[in-house]
């Protein structure tokens, strides 16, 4: 399985993602934002970080960079595109997934482990994951998911909500919502579920001695689903 990680000026989780993808069997290539063509890939990842210093709106400049037209074409032809954190912010700015990510409700940068409940397994990202709840890490200032009521109805009707913030036991309640996201949304799909944007970082949870291993579950499962 081949993957590509796009590096934008200000990306800082691109190398972590590279390590994670390699660890679970992907042949990964790093791709520079000013390139115009994607290498042949089964998965394209937009990593976390602070692309273009988060100027204007997080992800807005990166969404217009040269490589993104190829990424958009790849996604529109059914290719798997995963955006993590700043990558999720870039995805919403391209319009590949619905909504926007606002400043966190209580105006603080949040850096901690959270639990998320998998809402939908009818897709290549979470199909066969042997767990309902994952413990992952978040680190963001703008992760407060927002969309219009019409958009919310549409993504709910199509089952496009991927994961919700929850308790350790999977209860989706206000008190487990770290950033004020609508309906505790931590990640969503596009209509065909080949594009996934999510705030939590699975690549930070792939080593038992450093963190947890729920990210390993995610990547192992992902590569198996793509084979």
């Amino acid at each position: 399985m081949k993957s590509s990680v796009i590096t934008f000026p200000g990306s800082n989780c691109d190398r972590d993602m590279h390590v994670a993808l390699k660890k679970f069997g992907f042949k990964n290539k790093m791709v520079w934002h000013a390139d115009t063509e994607l290498p042949k890939s089964d998965l394209v990842v937009l990593p976390g970080g602070f692309s273009y210093g988060d100027y204007l709106r997080c992800g807005s400049m990166a969404s217009k960079s040269k490589i993104m037209q190829s990424v958009i074409n790849f996604a529109n032809s059914g290719g798997m595109v995963l955006g993590i954190c700043n990558g999720f912010q870039i995805l919403v700015e391209t319009g590949l997934v619905t909504g926007v990510l606002l400043r966190n409700k209580y105006l603080e940068f949040i850096c901690k482990n959270v639990f998320v409940k998998i809402n939908d397994k009818q897709n290549n990202y979470f199909k066969n994951v042997d767990s309902e709840v994952l413990e992952l890490h978040i680190a963001h200032n703008e992760g407060n998911y927002f969309c219009t009521n019409d958009q919310l109805k549409e993504i709910e009707d199509n089952n496009q909500i991927a994961i919700n913030y929850c308790s350790e036991n999977g209860e989706i309640e206000d008190q487990f919502n770290p950033n004020g996201s609508t309906k505790n949304i931590a990640g969503i799909f596009n209509k065909h579920k080949n594009v996934l944007g999510m705030m939590p970082h699975p690549e930070r949870m792939i080593d038992k001695s450093l963190s947890g291993e729920d990210g390993s579950l995610f990547f192992k499962n992902l590569i198996n689903n793509l084979k």
Binding site: L56, R57, S60, K64, E93, G99, V100, L102, R103, N104, K105, Y106, L107, N144, F146, C147, T148, Q151, G180
Partner: protein, 80 residues
């Protein structure tokens, strides 16, 4: 020609920064404020000399980059 653009958050979008500014103003003694909403202001100096064409270009910039129309409105101010 210089054209100005003001970007504001739409009515229903939560503005936590505006809220904190409001609270701070309150604490400073400006206690008759109903609400504060924070926005953005741009000055665009363009080579275009035709007023109508310049405004149309800036409108395109607003739609494509300067504003996110899910949460923001834009207002182009007539060039002087």
């Amino acid at each position: 020609m210089k054209i100005s653009v003001i970007i504001t958050l739409k009515k229903d979008v939560l503005d936590p920064q505006g809220k904190v500014i409001h609270q701070t103003l309150d604490g400073m003694g400006f206690d008759d404020v109903n609400e504060v909403r924070q926005g953005k202001y741009f000055e665009i100096d363009t080579k275009e000399t035709d007023n109508g064409k310049a405004k149309a270009k800036v409108e395109e910039m607003c739609k494509k980059l300067l504003a996110n129309l899910v949460i923001e409105n834009y207002k182009i101010i007539d060039p002087k």
